[in-house]
Assembly symmetry: C2
Homo-oligomer: 493 residues x 2
């Protein structure tokens, strides 16, 4: 091979092209597929996954990587090689039979989880989840580098470079201040009544207008309806979805703002190298920082409430909300609930803390599935001051574990911490930010994100990228300062 | 390998699952994809094609086939093995470099064809088409079995078992009677005025109603808009598309009826074996017979005009058409035009004859691309009695050759011949067919097709399947009898 790098990168680009195909198939399944197409689609998706896996594990990749081991390469090439090396190791370390068993367990786990949610009995989910935990422990043993714990190895699948012994104790320091803040706030909600009706087509029209105002490019995207909102794709084809609750116009709107945050990151990836590994996103935590920053630090700010107020009135009528301040209050209602995906900014990370601790113990072997429901309920009562009424509102609420996605939850909180750090840095760089938001001039914000985050794509490890963009190392300080100031102010405390 | 057949069929089913993924990607590209997604989609589609090709050429397939060479297998298994053997041979005979060159030439050919249509100059297309012809000749040399001509080898890609020396002379016998019939009819059109407006949403609603009445299952399908109507998918996920011309309600409606014919064949494939080669369609000619039969022998019959007349009136108003007989005349207007896709039943096969002869001569080496436009125009004038006004209305009208699809055109006419033969047999089996059509009872027709064609899928070679279903060997007699009787009667001749 005269040029091992050329061969390697061409191979990786074809793999990325298949991964993009896989995302389109998934989007189609969630938005367009006829109902009787499910069985065939499962076969197509799994055949495509197998093809992608086989490419990543291809022995030729090993040979090219060996040829490049001592070669010194320039910036994007060196990073591409490092990322391909990582993916190749992941693909080859887990034995094929185990990978196949996990794929089957994931599909069966999903079925068992759905059935248990129907019956309401966690016991119905225990056998499938125990099997999945056992397979995932085995998988983690194969994936772990020297000195890595099992849970570290899984966490790194979503957040390269993250270490459980550093990240989880850091997140742990959120527990006390957030619990105290929560208690302070829940009894003193400021007035912020929204009055319907909120017709579905109006919700979608307003959400679309907001996405466009925030910079979402419809010539590279589209907006559709699904049960669970998501964003998929990269570069010239980045699609977002939302859902409509007829009695709550904020669910649709803030789902769209959240997904628009993901979408801007994906649309602003380096188009000329869009199939290269270094042009992809840096990590799940970084991705989540982009959605949460737009959703919360921008979208739930007082300035944003001022900007959107006349649009809200125009859409839903003059009686729909009393004032920008009332809208601001409605956007930031603090309520102790049982469901993570419905949680406000004060409660959200407490939900994650609960899950992160439990899943680490499950994977590292300090907790067995039999004892999981009790552990969940005990910790929930301690953190939230409420008793979980049923398993569906408790340990059965999230799909992740049924699919073997252990190590994913902490990236949600990491995204919140990064979002707060980025917002601080952005506010320093853009002193007129609030005035710009209030007039709907979001271009400076998106430009700042493009320059400091989006354009870097996966050029370096996520914590390094974020440290530079935030102008400070990862900590809980920006988030705690932001959330405490904002909500104590809003509640006149 | 203890069970070579199990290994072989599992491998083939995964390949079929990838082929279905490829069809979904294509459908998405034509109906949903954001405009800036094109470059990435091209890369994804081509990576997926390469993955499919590599699976078909996989050396393990060779080994399994060798192990099975002397094994006697039961019906679907034996057929599966034969079909996999054929695909494997096709995939391995063409050298990789040539296959890659053809893929590139196809993409460049499409671009050159589009540009030539813009400029109107065939000369602008000559270099790309010459290159494509030269590569395709080379490809055909690799594909040809002993005794097969180049053109035979290509024709067999679309119509397994067909031989140019038999099929083309058979089609040739259509030329004289159709030319004479054409001359007889063009000057005596019966009255059949349609009066608009024909709003787009009404056209789509009526078309959807007709598709459902004909048995199209929306739980396994969907109807969307595209520039060029098509049908894609099989089994539980079969999607059709149409287009709307605001001044012509028949284009949308008859595109849908045509695609519904394809879709019923695909939806009625054996669901329990849907990924097996023997459960796929038999050939392009058989597929086209299903669409043409529904479109013409059923959809353009007097009985169908009676059934749809009240629906037409209800949709477009009482002034839109005078009577069922006037509607019947409008559905069957005979006009000499230049464009194949707009041709009526009398002219259509003359368009195909023109193309089939020219492409055979191009591939077998009796004609060069430089001389193609003259050859086209000369033959057109002889067959149609009109002078081609410009290249876009002539040799530049079809996309096929730009993509290297030589040998495809004859399957359109073959589809027409099969459709007429099937309609004869069906009419014998269903003596009340016209009365059933006139009351919208299409179930007996679809049941007959399911039993005699659909359920057999690719269980045997297409001509064998059709001979049994038609109750007679392939000939032009049923078609000529049908078209002559129908149109002379309609024109009171």
């Amino acid at each position: 091979m005269t040029n091992a790098y050329e061969a390697l990168i061409e191979h990786a680009k074809q793999t990325a092209a298949l991964e993009q195909a896989s995302q389109v198939l998934h989007w189609d399944q969630m938005t367009q597929m006829p109902e009787r197409g499910a069985a065939q689609r499962a076969a197509s998706a799994s055949a495509l996954e197998a093809a992608i896996h086989n490419r990543k594990a291809d022995p030729r990749v090993s040979e090219w990587l060996d040829l490049l081991a001592d070669r010194s390469l320039a910036a994007p090439a060196a990073r591409n090689v490092a990322l391909i090396r990582r993916e190749h190791a992941r693909a080859t370390r887990v034995p094929e039979a185990l990978a196949a068993a996990i794929a089957t367990a994931s599909s069966e786990g999903y079925t068992a989880w759905t059935a248990a949610r129907e019956s309401g009995a966690f016991a119905d989910f225990v056998p499938a989840l125990s099997h999945m935990v056992s397979l995932t422990r085995e998988q983690a043993d194969h994936l772990a580098d020297d000195g890595q714990s099992r849970y570290d190895a899984l966490l790194a699948l979503y957040e390269p470079g993250a270490k459980a012994d550093i990240l989880l104790p850091l997140l742990e320091t959120l527990r006390e201040p957030l619990s105290l803040l929560r208690e302070e706030l829940v009894d003193s909600p400021p007035p912020g009544q929204l009055t319907g009706p909120f017709p579905a087509e109006d919700q979608i029209a307003l959400s679309r207008e907001v996405a466009l105002a925030l910079g979402y490019d419809m010539t590279s995207g589209r907006l559709d309806l699904t049960v669970h909102p998501f964003c998929s794709g990269v570069g010239g084809d980045v699609r977002i979805t939302t859902r409509v609750q007829e009695d709550n116009p904020l669910d649709c709107l803030y789902s769209v703002i959240h997904e628009t945050g993901h979408a801007l990151y994906a649309q602003n990836a380096p188009l000329d190298r869009i199939m290269e590994p270094s042009a992809q996103y840096a990590s799940m935590g970084v991705h989540e920082s982009q959605s949460r920053l737009l959703e919360n630090q921008i979208g739930r700010s007082r300035a944003f409430a001022e900007w959107i107020f006349p649009r809200f009135i125009e859409t839903y009528g003059t009686g729909s909300v009393a004032s920008p301040e009332a809208l601001y209050a409605a956007l930031n209602r603090v309520e102790t609930g049982f469901i993570r995906t419905e949680a406000d900014e004060v409660h959200y990370n407490l939900h994650i803390l609960l899950r992160a601790g439990l899943e680490r113990d499950l994977i590292d072997g300090q907790l067995e599935v039999d004892a999981l429901e009790d552990a969940w309920n005990t910790q929930f009562a301690a953190d939230f001051g409420k008793t979980v009424p049923d398993a569906v509102s408790g340990v059965l609420q999230d799909v992740h574990w049924s699919q073997g996605a252990f190590g994913y939850f902490p990236t949600y909180s990491l995204g919140n911490l990064y979002a707060a750090g980025l917002a601080e840095a952005m506010r320093g760089a853009l002193p007129d930010m609030d005035a710009q938001i209030a007039t709907g001039d979001f271009a400076p914000i998106v430009d700042w994100l493009r320059q400091n985050v989006h354009a870097h794509a996966n050029a370096e490890d996520p914590e390094q990228l974020m440290t530079r963009a935030m102008g400070q190392p990862l900590s809980t300080a920006p988030f705690l300062s932001y959330v405490t100031t904002k909500f104590r102010d809003l509640h006149n405390l």
